[in-house]
């Protein structure tokens, strides 16, 4: 990505994919289609990370989220009563309060983004960035790292306990 035109072109194409995919995720009436569009959106986000030279972040994004969506697909299939063409209700009587809350958050986000100066680092990222992140995680940030691990372990054990409950 040496050429600035190519970089910009890639960025706009990917942004379009992210936004269009996101709209399809929430508007699709089929649970499985939503999941597929979610994969598409998350993959395009990973593409934007690549444009920004954040290769580690892109790889981790794909690794974690695509695997998670695969799980979501399995749940989607298991929780639907008919095998295909399940009609989901998209609106209920709370549509107006929900709209108000959403508009409030939209305004809040726009306000926040408008006021934030986005500093752009001119220096190129260091070449062995994953090595440095790994070192930091194991030295300076080892406590938060371990806390997150314990949290995930607790979630894992909780899931096993809930799944095993009615098999006495």
């Amino acid at each position: 990505m040496s050429d600035i035109f190519l970089t910009n072109l890639t960025f706009y194409v990917l942004s379009f994919c992210v936004i269009a995919g996101g709209i399809f995720v929430v508007s699709s009436r089929n649970l499985f289609h939503s999941a597929v569009f979610l994969v598409f959106t998350l993959f395009a986000v990973a593409g934007i990370f690549v444009v920004l030279n954040a290769y580690l972040l892109a790889a981790v994004q794909v690794l974690i989220y695509v695997g998670a969506v695969a799980m979501l697909m399995i749940f989607g299939v298991m929780l639907t009563t008919q095998l295909t063409n399940v009609r989901l209700r998209h609106v209920n009587e709370q549509v107006l309060p929900a709209l108000a809350v959403c508009l409030f958050f939209l305004g809040f986000l726009i306000y926040g983004l408008w006021d934030t100066p986005f500093e752009i680092a001119r220096a190129a990222p260091p070449p062995d960035i994953s090595y440095k992140i790994g070192t930091l995680l194991m030295t300076r940030y080892v406590l938060p790292f371990e806390v997150v691990s314990v949290l995930l372990l607790a979630a894992l054990i909780g899931a096993v306990v809930i799944a095993k409950r009615d098999r006495s």
């Binding site: 499985f32 794909v62 695969a70 299939v77 994953s130």
Partner: protein, 350 residues
């Protein structure tokens, strides 16, 4: 020595010179370069797969005391070319009740995911499309798309055999990905790098191969990789005797061919990854400058592909419960043990 890198650079300089001479801007020439590279890689992969299919048939024939394909060409070498042409012409039958977009895109995603891995595989000295600093992580990330493709095929076909096959394979691939990734960690810990180019460069002769320092890691990797490729003894997703053809039941013609191609591409990838991480990649075992590097790469990879075929034609298939139990109760603890031992080893010797 017969290295290809210089030749490729010369050819590209020549083409780029002509294109720039025609007045094309720099970005267009660059884009054209990427496109040519992708087509060349696709051609390479396609030829390898056609060869592997023929070879698999020959190996299976030898193991069962048959002759295998003999009629088309010398010992049937162009049999698979004929088969591919037949598949291209075949009518694409799509059942009425399928979820069309999902059914249509499933083979595409499966094949593209299998093909995208080749960005970071070092085929020889300098022969790597892009030596990403996160190479191994990239390969692991891209292969998760295989699960999506299989689930899409299973769901989109709207057929109980397909759905069962898709679910089985998703469970299998997700389970075996855990020990596979953990087994690779041993090599990453010793190499201190995620880049495949760097890892190959560190194994410059027979005694520096990582397999000597990571025998357990290699064993776990190889078993898990066999399962990831859906090869016997782990080929439950398409267990013909119980699931018709699993997730490919409702596919025909070119779409079926894409699943088939992806399976063989994955076999080649698993073997290429095994030799890159544990057996010195394109490096010659007898020190540098001993034969062209790409020949060493192909030779070593083909040997491991042969081992996969050997497994397939000599082992019976596992049962579903044995399969999952093996991944979680045997391979996973062993993978953790391997990481612990590697850590102790690094602490003592370095």
């Amino acid at each position: 020595m017969l290295e290809l890198r210089g030749l490729i650079d010369d050819i590209w300089d020549f083409i780029a010179g002509i294109l720039t001479g025609l007045g094309l801007p720099q970005w267009a020439v660059e884009l054209f370069g990427y496109a040519v590279l992708a087509v060349v890689m696709f051609g390479f992969v396609a030829v390898v797969v056609l060869f592997l299919i023929w070879w698999e048939r020959k190996v299976s024939a030898k193991m069962q005391d048959r002759l295998g394909p003999m009629r088309v060409g010398w010992h049937g070498v162009i049999q698979t070319v004929a088969d591919a042409l037949k598949l291209l012409q075949k009518e694409d039958i799509t059942p009425k009740a399928i979820d069309f977009p999902i059914h249509f895109w499933a083979p595409v995603i499966t094949f593209v995911a299998a093909f995208m891995v080749y960005v970071t595989i070092p085929f020889g000295e300098g022969l790597i499309v892009s030596d990403l600093s996160v190479g191994i992580l990239y390969i692991i990330a891209i292969t998760t798309f295989t699960v999506i493709g299989l689930l899409m095929a299973g769901w989109g076909s709207n057929n109980k055999y397909s759905l069962l096959g898709g679910f089985r394979s998703a469970a299998q691939v997700i389970s075996y990905e855990v020990p596979l990734t953990l087994a690779l960690l041993g090599v990453i810990m010793i190499a201190q790098s995620l880049s495949l180019g760097t890892i190959v460069a560190q194994q410059s002769n027979l005694f520096k191969w990582y397999v000597w320092r990571q025998p357990l890691g290699f064993a776990i990797f190889w078993v898990a990789a066999t399962a990831e490729c859906n090869r016997t003894p782990f080929d439950l997703p398409e267990a013909d005797s119980e699931l018709v053809a699993g997730f490919v039941t409702e596919y025909s013609g070119m779409k079926f061919a894409m699943f088939f191609l992806a399976e063989f591409v994955n076999m080649f990838t698993a073997s290429a990854l095994a030799i890159t991480l544990f057996f010195g990649g394109w490096m010659s075992p007898f020190g540098p400058d001993f034969g062209p590097s790409w020949m060493w790469f192909l030779g070593k990879t083909m040997f491991f592909v042969f081992v996969l075929m050997w497994f397939r034609w000599t082992y019976p298939r596992l049962r579903v419960d044995q399969l999952m139990g093996f991944a979680w109760k045997v391979l996973l603890p062993l993978a953790f043990l391997n990481i612990l031992l590697t850590g102790i080893g690094i602490y003592i010797f370095d």
